[in-house]
């Protein structure tokens, strides 16, 4: 157990500062024009999530088994997005108005 504590603590305040800076950048990116802002927002969110997992959850300093356990659901969730694609490629876009129009009249 003693060697568990052997690694020096990372600089938590630096991680905190990065997370705060990335959050501010994200809110700034929200005001960018629509098509280009989506990948930027996603990249910033993933960077923040990675910082939390690597430093606060110690994945960077832990045995690799734990990283493998952490990454598996990410892969499953990514696959899921593709599995769900037929759901919206195959049907025409519905709106509240069109749904109302399609409903049987009393």
């Amino acid at each position: 157990m003693a060697d568990t504590h052997a690694h020096k603590s990372p600089n938590y305040m630096a991680v905190w500062a990065w997370l705060a800076i990335l959050t501010v950048l994200e809110i700034g990116a929200y005001f960018m024009p629509p098509p280009s802002k989506y990948p930027i927002l996603l990249a910033l969110a993933l960077a923040k999530a990675a910082l939390v997992a690597l430093y606060f959850m110690h994945l960077r300093f832990d045995v690799k088994t734990l990283s493998a356990i952490a990454v598996t659901p990410l892969l499953i969730a990514t696959l899921l997005v593709f599995f769900l694609m037929p759901d919206h490629r195959g049907v025409e876009h519905r709106t509240a108005e069109s749904a109302k129009a399609a409903a049987p009249k009393p």
Binding site: W16, P73, A77, T95
Partner: protein
């Protein structure tokens, strides 16, 4: 391999070079992986519902960014106090660890208070599970279910951290306290990590 294993090879088939250094940590990680798939399903189906809708309301316009932005910052800060608590235990400063844990709990409670305020405000504006004045009906369902499920995790986390804080006071043993705080910390940081994704996917995109 432990000393016991070397001296009594017959008594402990359960320990091998593959034995994790902490069963608690391994258990929590496996739980979190399952929980992450739960959130992944919710977020992916939210994406599918939104992509197949022609009149999804612009989220930030109706949900706002200021309050969720501050909530994000709160959880980030509470994650820092959480790792500081663990660091304090490693250094043998149990009193400081308790104070950091109480600060983490306060961050969680403040987060929940802001979420309550936000929900009340949105419900007053006419946002419901299956309808709202602005467009696609599922806008409300996806928002309330995903942020609500996350809020439940924060609530559970606050209770969990309360139990850990009490345990540290009752059993001032450094190894034990380090172990339970590290495992609880994994859960708390996970809740922070999920909110980071929720903030971007539900509010900003």
């Amino acid at each position: 391999m432990s000393e016991v294993a070397l001296h009594h090879p017959g008594v402990e088939p359960a320990e091998s070079p593959l034995t994790p250094e902490s069963w608690g940590k391994l258990g929590m990680w496996i739980f979190l992986a399952g929980d992450a798939v739960g959130f992944g399903v919710l977020l992916a189906s939210y994406g599918a519902a939104r992509a197949s809708s022609g009149d999804w309301p612009p989220p930030a316009v109706h949900l706002g960014i200021n309050i969720p932005g501050i909530m994000t910052f709160l959880l980030i800060c509470s994650s820092v106090t959480m790792v500081k608590a663990l660091e304090a235990i490693r250094l043998g400063r149990l009193g400081a660890a308790r104070r950091f844990l109480l600060m983490t709990i306060a961050g969680g409670l403040l987060f929940l208070g802001m979420q309550g305020y936000e929900w009340t405000h949105l419900i007053e504006q006419g946002m419901r599970m299956f309808g709202n004045p602005w467009g696609a009906a599922l806008f409300g369902a996806s928002f309330f279910i995903i942020t609500g499920f996350h809020g439940l995790h924060v609530t559970g986390g606050v209770i969990y951290l309360g139990v850990v804080t009490a345990a540290i006071s009752r059993f001032p043993d450094r190894e034990y306290d380090y172990m339970i705080t590290e495992v609880a910390g994994l859960y708390w940081h996970f809740v922070d990590l999920v909110w980071i994704m929720v903030f971007t996917l539900i509010y900003l995109l």
